[in-house]
Point group: C2
Chain length 246, copies 2
Amino acid sequence: MRVARAFNCHLSLADMSQQMSCKELMKVLGLGAVAFVLGVEWLNWLKRRLRDSRGPLKEVLFFPSPQVCVEHLFIRHKHFPCACPLPHGVETSFSRLLVHLLSARVSLDLCVFSFSHMELSRAILLLHKQGVVVRVVTDRDYMTITGSQIGALRKAGICVRHEMSSAVHMHHKFALVDSRKLITGSLNWTLTAVQSNKENVMVTEEPELVGPYQQEFQKLWEANDPANHKPQYTNGQLNIKTCKDK
Amino acid sequence: MRVARAFNCHLSLADMSQQMSCKELMKVLGLGAVAFVLGVEWLNWLKRRLRDSRGPLKEVLFFPSPQVCVEHLFIRHKHFPCACPLPHGVETSFSRLLVHLLSARVSLDLCVFSFSHMELSRAILLLHKQGVVVRVVTDRDYMTITGSQIGALRKAGICVRHEMSSAVHMHHKFALVDSRKLITGSLNWTLTAVQSNKENVMVTEEPELVGPYQQEFQKLWEANDPANHKPQYTNGQLNIKTCKDK
């Protein structure tokens, strides 16, 4: 009985489609497409509402972080054959830090006291290569210590400014991703800090926190513009490097 | 005409009060008192609602901070006669930091790499004297440098634990006030950091941020319990100090 009903139904639908003119069919298909688009839009709206109800991103990372392979964060091939001996597919505080940094699409403003970590330097160079506008403010004394990556950044064309006063340390350790995500804490960008020390990093998109740090960065960026300072000479050589702003 | 009406009204009210019995007067006064209390409660509720609508406390402080008199934060006499030559009545990043620390009523958990600032030490000692349970975790190497206040805290009976491993730096710089307010940033508790360096401190009551830091403190507190570590001797002398937990 059920089969017969289904058959009748099938027949009547087939008849309908035969009876429908091409114009009507187009109408039905058009309305279906509109309904589909509206459905997708509604789902996106629902997703945004759910995310907004949790509030802006707030994440806390603690260090030291165990050493794991982070190669997949730099080279995003689907089947990336990494043969290194480190553990793979493990999420750590350091890999989360890298993920947040590499999420930059427009700009990265970095204010860091000490910067000698190779992988973090690689991340910054990659962003610069991808067209992200990178600006760095660092400490005058610590930028020249052994292993500092500041030279590598400058060599690649990244604009770096340093604290002009030798009596003051630029001791901040924060980054601003696309002017909307703040990464800040006690962590200097060194291997010891990442792998050995007890450190903390907070990642937030809370506008009330991001705003003041963005203003502080801009203040330091302008205050340490070499164009506003008299060049200083040591042994007859100019010791303030200039950079080409983007 | 208006004066006459007001006069009549005044007369009738006077008559009413004369006609009211003592019992009725008490009723009116009682109702008035209830209305007043309800009004005050409603205003407090409105205040709380307005505060809640702004979300939990979020404050960012940048350093260096200009040197001003902070004596009034320690001694809260109404007419405190401070004769020091520093500017008075000025709010700075440092005075805000002190205000937040001195707001502790129950507990203060402090995790700080380097601690030599005299005024900050004074604040911690005052809280301890007032009965606030203070716990400090610090760095093994930096707690013995010249000017360190760790000895003064221990001498006053405050329980201090230090990072047990000599290969690791306890590089955090955060404090938890009453387990609900987080103070964290790049600032070590030194005079150079407060008065000279470019530093940042964030103060927040956001539970999603306070929670992880409270857990981290507890983890470090337990991990560095001298009772769980073998005593180490240098030149025949015990070099791990024990403390009496509260």
